[in-house]
């Protein structure tokens, strides 16, 4: 029995932390404190999208409609399976089926917030994100600093108490953590040089949520050793999307990829542009992205920490230069928390990013501001005067928010510069363990 628990402890906390009593105690303390913070937020807040994804899942589970979510097929399957599980374990969930199946989004939202057990339902809906979050915690501490338990613990702490993680998962209640988990698993496999498995899992992550496609070239350049590798890894990398494309073509009779390309969300990538003349324009993020990828490609010593740094740079460039939704910031966090250990300045700027994000949030309107608090009392938070009308009373709200948006971009670009400097250190004389304060 003791042997079993020893193995379990090592599997969870990693051997170097588990073997040292003081480190393991700190690990356990951080875990409990992080869990406490998460549980405090779990029952009381959500953003409309949480209800939407479970409404689509309800169409599958309660109404047997399998075509209710086309663009996010795998995410839909996961939520449907989870709702099915909830239905099996807690049959009382059937009581809210009429609310979930209500087609009028406003009526369903009001109905959902009005039910007396709304806190229970929100908790059950969000528990799956907590499970993936915990899984991410345990993967993330293995990604770097082998044989340095103190630094691993810091990485763990920075993830556990990261404000973006807590906000996106437990206040905003978005499902991005599932894709982040698959991406982290791919990173761990890449670290262990299991190149085919790493790319297969990354392909799955891409199929789950389009975002990991941004780091696919980095993965290929990191893992490929021969020309053949480049071809095989590239093909496997996009295989998840291709599989979904084939499935959607035969099952739904339409193309998933072209639907995604024509979706509003894809236009976010092209949102920042330099208008030149006539039809000529430069999409700033695309140009910056190619610059980043080429920079990585031409770096001589591609160690794993450099891959992580470039992952952070790619996602910081995205949120710095493109229109984004708050949950997209989460994609940068797994990479950043590792960099925080080497460079605390990046962490302080990340906190500034978060504070600015809370201001930028205003511009997405009541749906992401006061309506997030609606489970507590939807009437109160619907009728309370919104932040935009208050700002509009004194100043142009778009200009106000965009000032902070621009500061956010400035901070993000500065963080990229700091990480770039960190790149030099980790590729130059090996991994420099001195902290930059």
């Amino acid at each position: 029995m003791k042997h079993f628990f020893n193995n379990l402890g090592s599997a969870i906390a990693s051997r170097d932390i588990f073997d040292n009593k003081a480190y393991f105690r700190r690990f356990y303390k951080y875990f409990l404190a992080g869990l406490l913070v998460r549980l405090i937020f779990i029952p009381f807040f959500f953003q409309r999208d949480l209800l939407s994804i479970y409404q689509r899942a309800a169409e599958t589970v309660f109404a047997g409609d399998f075509s209710s979510s086309f663009e996010q097929m795998l995410m839909h399957i996961i939520h449907s399976a989870y709702l099915m599980f909830l239905k099996f374990v807690f049959p009382a969930i059937n009581e809210i089926s009429s609310i979930l199946l209500e087609e009028d989004t406003w009526v369903s939202w009001i109905g959902f917030n009005s039910i007396y057990n709304v806190f229970t339902v929100i908790t059950l809906f969000k528990i799956i994100y907590l499970i993936f979050d915990i899984a991410c915690m345990f993967i993330i501490l293995r990604l770097s600093f082998d044989g340095e338990p103190e630094k691993r613990l810091q990485v763990f702490k920075f993830w556990i108490f990261n404000p973006v993680v807590i906000f996106v998962l437990y206040i905003f209640a978005r499902h991005d953590i599932i894709g982040v988990f698959a991406t982290l698993a791919a990173l761990l496999l890449a670290k262990k040089q299991k190149k085919y498995w790493a790319i297969v899992v990354l392909a799955l992550a891409i199929a789950l949520r389009f975002f990991p496609v941004m780091i696919l070239p980095l993965f290929i350049f990191y893992l490929a050793r021969t020309k053949k590798d480049y071809i095989i890894l590239s093909v496997i990398g996009v295989s998840g999307l291709i599989a979904l494309e084939i499935f959607s073509y035969f099952y739904y009779g339409r193309s998933l990829i072209f639907t995604l390309l024509n979706a509003q969300h894809f236009s976010y990538i092209l949102s920042s542009k330099l208008e030149l003349i006539i039809h000529d324009r430069i999409f700033i993020f695309v140009a910056a992205y190619i610059f980043i990828i080429l920079s990585y490609f031409h770096t001589g010593n591609k160690n794993f920490d450099l891959l992580l740094n470039y992952g952070a740079i790619v996602y910081l460039a995205y949120i710095g230069l493109c229109y984004f939704h708050p949950q997209y910031v989460l994609w940068a966090v797994p990479f950043l928390v590792i960099i925080f250990v080497r460079n605390r300045q990046v962490m302080y700027y990340h906190w500034i990013q978060f504070a600015l994000l809370m201001i930028i949030l205003i511009y997405w309107g009541p749906l992401v501001t006061q309506f997030v608090l609606a489970p507590i009392d939807h009437r109160y938070f619907v009728y309370i005067t919104g932040i935009i009308p208050i700002i509009e009373r004194f100043y142009d709200s778009a200009a106000f928010v965009n000032i902070f948006r621009s500061i956010f971009t400035g901070v993000s670009l500065w963080m990229i510069y700091l990480i770039y400097k960190d790149n030099k250190r980790i590729t130059g004389s090996g991994l420099d363990n001195k902290e930059v304060l």
Binding site: K29, Y116, F381, T385, E392
Partner: protein, 237 residues
């Protein structure tokens, strides 16, 4: 140094808590932001009835009639535009019509009713009765049940006397916590276990008689749950 940091953290946390509670309790009295808030705001101060309205800087017409079985002894206008806003007063009624726009954030009037048992309000927004509960009588979200509604004498005092926990959003929050008590107590119990566990590996780790400490903490947790049950029962009436 560590102590100082802790004190700063405590002070900041308390300040944030006070700010949050005071923001949530914005329903105390009647508070609105001209040019940002939307709807009618009606309240009483020292026997004078105030009727004001505001909109988020869009062209909107507010009109209506107030009648009473008593007498309207005097009235005053607030930010009234003589050229576009109309008010007619009689002994027992006030009829008004006013338009707000991007420049005109709010209007209103107040009057002193005497020897009355009721005031009857017939209020419209853009010539229609408001079905969205944007008429606040005596307090934020103290909405009338009907389009044309009566307010008895003493109503404003009764609203004013309402304790904070019977006002939104607290009343609804406590109701949901108590109505769903199995979840609430399980949830609090889990939070309690985590806190005890944190204490066990930090504060209690260096103490003798650890088992006694932990047992005491669990007894305190159980007692806290019982107390919370009765507190919620009291708060939800």
């Amino acid at each position: 140094m560590a102590n100082r940091n802790l004190k700063i953290k405590i002070v900041v946390s308390l300040a944030l808590l006070v700010l949050t509670v005071s923001l949530l309790a914005g329903c105390q009295g009647i508070f609105y932001i001209p040019g940002a808030s939307y709807g009618y705001y009606i309240w009483e101060e020292d026997g004078t009835i105030f009727v004001e309205w505001s909109v988020d800087r869009k062209d909107t017409k507010f009109s209506g009639k107030i009648t009473t079985d008593g007498e309207i002894s005097s009235y005053n206008l607030k930010e009234w535009e003589e050229d576009s806003d109309i008010i007619r007063t009689g002994e027992k009624e006030i009829i008004f019509s006013s338009t707000l726009d991007g420049e005109d954030y709010s209007d209103g009037f107040n009057f002193i009713p005497e020897d009355y048992t009721y005031l009857e309000f017939d209020l419209k927004i853009n010539n229609n009765y408001d079905e969205l509960s944007r008429i606040n009588v005596g307090g934020f979200l103290e909405n009338p049940g009907d389009c044309v509604f009566r307010v008895e004498k003493g109503y404003f005092d009764s609203v004013r006397m309402k304790p904070w926990y019977q006002k939104r959003p607290f009343s609804e929050f406590f109701y949901k916590l108590f109505a769903n008590k199995y979840f609430t107590f399980l949830y609090l119990f889990i939070l309690g276990i985590i806190i005890i566990e944190i204490l066990r590996i930090t504060v209690i780790a260096g103490k003798d008689k650890k088992v006694l400490w932990i047992a005491s903490l669990y007894i305190i947790l159980a007692m806290a749950e019982v107390c919370i049950y009765f507190v919620l029962k009291f708060l939800t009436g």
